[in-house]
Symmetry: C2
Subunit: 358 residues, 2 copies
């Protein structure tokens, strides 16, 4: 997919907190985005809507978007449950007619839509359903415990708090220090950015751990450090199964805890009062305890998402998180991620020393 | 399926600990089993092999089994990963030719096998793949927390320790006390016995919690007590994701901890030394802590599986488990399950009293 120019479909949901896939692709592949289709913000630039992303336009129709000559349409929003809104079919058929391939991370596979599949076949364009799980995944057998590299998993207080972004922000810096660092994608957005991976939330439930194990074994080849993209949260009523399977299947040596600093309630739920997000220190204990039943691990840092705070408030939030947990805490997008990078290097050195002794 | 007469296919794996599905169906639907196909134990009776099940024969060929006029073939073993051994196809085709329907809980669906599907269509017989998940499952939204009945989930120290059996053993006794008690099946064997349910280990990972929620809502209709069949173990490297999703999606008010008393290591793993089963009291703390992040719960009893112990050793194991946990502990198959039944009634009364106060 490298070099592909994308028009992103994010109709009605384009925004800093709602269009997670779109935003991450814009952040990490900015030169390959020709526009965003969203009727709400049409006429503005991506920068106007997100606060980053430059002067790339937001358009109201597929026709306008196709005028920028994309090679592919990228589905940039992930509705709850992951299903395709009915009205998109006409747009996607129009795009296929113009020769565009389709990239989607929805749970409902575009290639299973008879109209889209038939038109794509006629036109000779590909439909890439990134959430389609590989056949013949193994049941986890604990092999991830034995890989050579230092394995780090991001864990979170909720969905959509910055678990993938935290790792992408430190990957480059670690590589610059001469540590061969590999990001391992476990969700559709990470797969779009990295070009490979498995959407672990889309595998058959018995194989979550096995998918995580396969990814760690694959990502370990030629790497000193493996950064495994975390998913969901261990106290998320809908998605905790994915989180738990990933935690046990990937056997991380260390965890980075991710949190959106202003969020008070588990976010995907309308009944905001149901599940209050407990203190960060309780999450540290929860994740370390549950992981430790399979493979010992410890939390080495906190990545805060402070996008909706003033700069002084954001700095105060980082200090408070650091004080509460006794760990380095930083917003790795907004501020210098060096404290997290240092924490990784220090923890890896301790890990190498303990392995040399044993 | 009620009234159907089954020939059970358990070739090469028929035995007290290996053929979990076969054994449970034999225990709870004894009058509807005409025989077991297993070349290893052919010529013996089910009683000879399992220690229960009466004089029903074990046969070596499909032809011999069909002579007992079954209506259906029931796949009675669940190989790791759930896939169908290649050699069964000829047997199943022979059974279809004789007019038998097929009941399977394998991950690989029999109806997706072109040869079996075509022959079944020609012959007009049904293929029931019990692990095929319903379409359009919801993401869990916490509704299970609000149901009227008292909800109990069995949790375990490992797979295949007796989580389903413990509940089936107390269901009848609770009903005899005038409490309308509903068993909710979450695995293929439970579905075979109960006639409905969802195999939660076979749903797409994002929907484990949603499947559990749907089952609890459905099972709650007209019930005073809902017994949700547990799956896997929260420290099982391969299956913990299913366990965690079920724990959070079903929002149990109480837990019954299940353990096979002689088992020392998490069992599905060849490398027996990898994961030692920790003490029961640690499991109590683990399950209550993780569940409590979503819905408060407490462990009210221990169900021990002592099938491979002498009677004095089994009684001693129950006493030791009770002493360690401070909870009633009994093997509900081998001994009188009344202590567990009493624990359920007491816990439900406390629950009703606390609801009346709030």
């Amino acid at each position: 997919m490298h070099g592909t120019r994308y028009l992103i479909l994010a109709d009605g949901e384009f925004g800093p907190l709602t269009s997670k896939t779109a935003n991450s692709v814009i952040r990490y592949l900015p030169d390959r985005i020709v526009g965003v289709l969203d009727r709400v913000h049409a006429g503005r630039t991506i920068q106007d809507v997100l606060g980053f992303g430059g002067s790339t336009p937001v358009v109201a129709t597929m026709r306008e978007g196709l005028a920028f000559k994309p090679d592919a349409i990228l589905i940039g929003i992930a509705p709850m449950g992951g299903r395709m809104p009915e009205e998109w079919r006409a747009w996607l058929l129009e795009a296929i007619d113009a020769g565009c391939s389709l990239w989607s991370g929805l749970h409902t596979f575009l290639a299973d839509d008879p109209a889209l599949a038939a038109r794509a076949r006629e036109r000779g364009v590909a439909i890439h359903d990134l959430r389609r799980a590989p056949a013949d995944l193994p049941v986890s057998s604990g092999k991830a415990k034995e890989v050579e590299p230092f394995v780090i998993l991001t864990v979170g207080t909720d969905c959509n708090v910055g678990k993938m972004t935290a790792q992408l922000q430190i990957t480059r810096l670690l590589n610059e220090r001469g540590l061969r660092t590999r990001f391992v994608a476990t969700g559709q957005t990470g797969i779009m950015i990295e070009g490979w991976g498995i959407a672990v939330d889309a595998v058959v439930a018995d194989f979550i751990g096995g998918a995580a194990e396969w990814l760690v074994l694959e990502g370990s080849k030629g790497a000193d450090i493996v950064l495994v993209e975390g998913q969901g949260s261990l106290n998320h009523p809908g998605y905790s199964g994915v989180t738990c399977g990933l935690l046990h299947g990937s056997c991380p040596d260390a965890l980075i805890l991710c949190h959106q600093a202003t969020r008070e309630f588990i976010g995907d739920y309308r009944k905001a009062s149901w599940l209050k997000i407990p203190p960060l220190s309780e999450y540290v204990r929860l994740y370390e305890t549950v992981a430790g039943f399979v493979h010992p691990t410890r939390t080495i840092g906190v990545a805060l998402n402070t996008f909706d705070m003033t700069e002084p408030a954001a700095r105060a939030a980082c200090e408070a998180a650091s004080k509460e947990t006794g760990l380095p805490a930083v917003d790795p997008v907004r501020f210098d991620p060096t404290p997290l990078v240092d924490a990784v290097v220090t923890a890896r050195n301790a890990y190498l020393a303990s392995r040399a002794l044993s």
